[in-house]
Symmetry: C2
Subunit: 380 residues, 2 copies
């Protein structure tokens, strides 16, 4: 009897230790390549990776800025797991004896300046970007030669499910931009912009609209600095918008055009929106503003050539002015967006503000921001 | 004088040795990620890869079925190169201490059952799939839920450049399939089907057509063997074609429908074309036939339920019957395609046959096959 009690005690102790380390309910990530068992995710948001590397001395899982050592079994297979991650999408990689490489088990996404592994931690509100049994729009790749950059470029165009069965109907257009070290593939692959709109339109929460997703990196020939020779505004206004208006059934006026972007894209698109109220009457800035990275008090007389100096005029020029941020975002985003909001308030400029609960400067913040923003635009 | 002669001799000898190893005219592969210097290709078709792996003991370049040892410099950067490769597209990977991983420098492609690295060796006829300053069509992603497989699937739809500016014109449709361990991304990413058609249409060599690229792996629920429960024909005929005819301006008859595929896709699509002459009057088999992998003499009385037993009827039922192969393809392709052609000849069945010079069972064979085939269909 005494022996039995002791064993039971040990058993409870060892179970408690296991549970404290990680809950054993891992299942393959929704972003795995077809048929791949790893990486896996558990209900705590931990990521478990696995790699066959029989001759390696050290293999690590590199996610969220932390490298987690993996351990080798007698068959040369390394397994390791991370601390709990926030819900949503995260870039990650594996390190094999000092080489940073994509995980052969995952699908690949462009971000952080490279194509690499991505993982999805289930979120409580994942229904907003889940593939549901609703009519689905089409995502199209449109190539074009830019005479401004003298290079081939491409954009993706989302047309709503009803587009092809309404050959005489014209649609408003949202121009939607990625962040720094990302490209025109981000909003569909990581952002699920097409699925978010399919769901919103099916639920009658957003009006059917076209979305155009281009690459915010556009340089004048022979300039390639981080922001030197940036000509995205010219490419967008002079080349992309006329092409879209020619090839798709758009309503080609500023009331039926919106522009939004995330992080660097929020900064870029705010400048474009303020420069060209004749083109855009709707703006969305997700996790970013044009005063980035400053948190200084903004002087509306000088900021963006005085675009905000007359608050009443701004209220007249724009139908929807939208800002957002994740509640877990770090410096300088809360501070610089806060400084921008203070300026808007002081100028009496009306705007919508959305805070994504529990998310950092990452894609779940931006999926939710699009979900909110798309419900506001083109409604009056 | 004598010393000078000896030195000159040595110099020539060492240069000869260098040239025999590899010509020093390497440049970044056209399939590199933006800004990545490696992998590189030289004019002999050698591939030079590079990877930072300071702690690794052995790094290899794995291409064309051969692993080439790379060597480490004092900064921990490994460099190595392959023997000359055939022109065209090849899958490859790096091996780091026994771990097979994608090269962080390349773009990624789905083939060999996984997303991995690809490299492009320039071909003498690369103009046929080069991005030229001609009007470009649109490549669209269409998601759909299959009630046959009970799963979400997607296809890509190419519409020619003129499609959106001719809102009343209807177009013929080519259904184009990938090979084994590939998927619906292959024909655009590796095959450049969209660019090949853009060029052919701009040069008035092919008629403007729609191309639909689906995934040939379609399984009845709860069956997942290599070919068990394969229901692709049902998905295509009952779900995909009606969806395409509903959503795009097609000419919905068999005369204006073609079906073609490569390797496994050639086998699949031949069966579909022969089963359903009411749906398709045009067939293309690139590097494959339905008698694969057999090289036995084919008995037309029994093969594919006697579909070829009446040669005259076959000639009447199909406008274009096209077969192709690369001249360097290995067993069993020349033998099984040869046996199939012998049967066609014996039955008096007319067909076109194209041989891609100097290529194996790889994508350059299939790009060229599409280039040939697309010029034949929908012309009468």
């Amino acid at each position: 009897m005494k022996k039995h009690l002791v064993l039971a005690g040990l058993s409870i102790l060892s179970m408690t230790t296991l549970v404290a380390q990680s809950k054993e309910d891992f299942s393959p990530s929704s972003l795995n390549q077809q048929g791949k068992a790893f990486p896996q995710v558990n209900s705590e948001g931990r990521v478990r990776a696995q790699l066959s590397a029989p001759e390696a001395n050290r293999v690590q899982l590199d996610i969220g800025g932390v490298k987690y050592d993996m351990t080798k079994d007698d068959k040369g297979i390394w397994t390791g797991e991370s601390d709990p991650q926030d819900p949503g999408f995260h870039y990650y990689q594996l390190c094999v004896d000092g080489a940073s490489v994509p995980d052969p088990g995952s699908l690949y996404f462009y971000g952080a300046g490279r194509w690499g592994s991505g993982i999805e931690i289930p979120a409580p509100d994942e229904e907003i970007y889940a593939l549901r049994d609703v009519p689905h729009g089409i995502l199209s790749q449109q190539r074009y030669f830019s005479n401004i950059t003298k290079s081939w470029r491409r954009c993706f165009v989302y047309t709503p499910a009803e587009y092809n069965s309404n050959p005489y109907k014209h649609y408003p257009v949202l121009y939607l931009q990625h962040g720094s070290f990302e490209d025109e593939t981000g909003w569909a692959n990581q952002g699920h912009a097409d699925i978010i709109l399919d769901n919103l339109i099916a639920d009658c929460k957003a009006v059917p609209m076209i979305i155009v997703i281009d690459n915010g990196y556009a340089f004048a020939p022979d300039t390639k600095g981080p922001f030197q020779g940036m000509v995205f505004e010219d490419v967008l206004i002079q080349e992309v918008i006329p092409m879209i208006d020619a090839n798709f059934r758009t309503i080609a006026d500023n009331k039926h055009r919106a522009i939004a972007g995330l992080s660097m894209g929020a900064n870029q698109t705010m400048r474009i929106a303020m420069n060209r109220p004749d083109i855009f009457r709707n703006y969305g800035g997700f996790s970013g503003t044009a005063n980035y990275p400053s948190s200084d008090v903004i002087d509306p007389a000088t900021f963006l050539n005085g675009a905000f100096s007359n608050g009443q005029k701004v209220n007249e020029l724009y139908d929807v002015y939208f800002l957002s941020i994740g509640t877990k975002e770090g410096k300088p985003f809360p501070e610089s967006i806060g400084a921008f909001r203070n300026m808007l308030d002081k100028q009496g400029i009306k705007y919508s503000f959305y805070q994504s609960p529990g998310t950092q400067h990452e894609w779940l913040t931006w999926r939710r921001s699009l979900y909110q923003y798309a419900q506001l635009i083109f409604k009056n």
